[in-house]
Symmetry: C2
Subunit: 318 residues, 2 copies
Amino acid sequence: MSQKIHTVAIIGCGVIGMSWACLFLAKGLKVIITDPVEGTEQRFKEYLDDAWPTLELQLGSIDQQQAKNYEFVDDIAPRLGSVDFIQENGPENVEFKQNLFKILDQHARSDIVIASSSSGLPSSVFIGKCEHQPDRILIGHPFNPPHLIPLVEVVPHVGTSSVAVSTALAFYRSLGKIPVLVRKEVPGFVANRLQAAINAEAYSLISRGVISAEDLDKAVTSGPGLRWAVTGPIVTNALGGGGGADGFSTRLERLGPAIRGWEDDMHKHRFDWSEEMLSVLKADVAEYLATVEWTQLTRQRDSVLLQVLRSKSQTRED
Amino acid sequence: MSQKIHTVAIIGCGVIGMSWACLFLAKGLKVIITDPVEGTEQRFKEYLDDAWPTLELQLGSIDQQQAKNYEFVDDIAPRLGSVDFIQENGPENVEFKQNLFKILDQHARSDIVIASSSSGLPSSVFIGKCEHQPDRILIGHPFNPPHLIPLVEVVPHVGTSSVAVSTALAFYRSLGKIPVLVRKEVPGFVANRLQAAINAEAYSLISRGVISAEDLDKAVTSGPGLRWAVTGPIVTNALGGGGGADGFSTRLERLGPAIRGWEDDMHKHRFDWSEEMLSVLKADVAEYLATVEWTQLTRQRDSVLLQVLRSKSQTRED
């Protein structure tokens, strides 16, 4: 497959597509964009103006000319011959994607990867009409917003070629992203499942009156959440067991019985989405959210996020 | 209850007790420490020397005299008359704690709170021999290390007085800690349950071969983990639903069916602690942990942690 990627196609330029396009431009790529929705080009211009300073804070100064290196087209098909990578961001609708991927597969060069940003649909459900090379199609699921959050989940279907997988991983890495390989198509992939796991227990604790919604959030942001930006669950466990290669097993042996007790209790009180539990949850959450200063909060989040990203890349380079 | 706390007793000065003592000293309190294990005083001196610069990075310059304002005693009982708050950090053993709390309850002044750092035992199981005022006993469970991580879970037993709860909350807040109230004694309290929820799904995904242990950690530290230091699960959900007081409900309505599908699949593939799943998990984790640069990693974690804490307190004060 082509290892040199100069031109990327953005198919669908909503919230996710716009953010991908900004990152591609900041990294010096040419971007060809298509989206049938009226006013998209103007919305993208505004989004780009807003995102550019954040990208400069993250990446250092960028040649301003790069911000202009994009083009909106009505019909992408005749342009696909000059495209080295496709990032699709259309609606999460099986039939829509089946028809779209039939066209992309028909017109894309044989040596490129076609990646879908889909968070919900695995690619196996929408490649049915691809008659040429469905083996270069895979999921490249970003975390919102892609121009800021490094994670990309690369999820092949059973027929995706290993070279398509390695090309996608290498491409995302070259952009400074942190791709992970999800080897099997599972519902929610990985990051959304991990979030769902913590959310389900949070909903249960709040709806059972164990803790208020406000204190639940504090328990994360002032406790375990402070570490998860740097050490993931496995390394955090290992450090809890004294660190080193044996730390993980040590902790499992020492705390295993207690943890299984917690798990059984969590399972017994699992959030069941009943009207009763939902109404307690929603009422408590509404009371909390009414007190949140949203502007200040998102400003604080973005500022801390940028500092963490810079601090992580600095300490990595030490 | 006494609102003025000048002198704190540390009962049990292992890893948790030492860290609490450092924080109390840095905040200008007098600390009386007791621990039957030989060599504890010397170990504490070394721990304090090591922790002090980190505390200064976090809190600004501190009067060096404060670091000397502690005293080790063999028998705490005759000294409890001058103590305004007790933080107990003994072994997690029911009988041991029952006997210890009998003594603390007998000798402590009637107007003070007796808090236990216990992470596993709720206080209801060890107050059985307290004949005076078990209503001032509660759990004040810190997150390790307490001198750095702000979270404290305050967990009353059914007989704890509301004034003891509010005194403990106010005291921890006065130290710059972020206490949360866990209204009912549930196994694992809150933060450990939330961690167990994410860990269980992580173990399942790794043991099923969906993702490598290394990529699992990356999926957290480069994705959702970046946000959990600033926005907890509930506010993160609300922002995902467009923000504002309605964001949470909007997201639940839009994504609820998908989330329930993920939950059902997670439940179906629940990590079962069988030898088979454990051995795959441990093997994959061992391979990953063998590649970790532990010194660099913990240095990076501490550096990022301090930056996040400072950045959060700065933006809070804006």
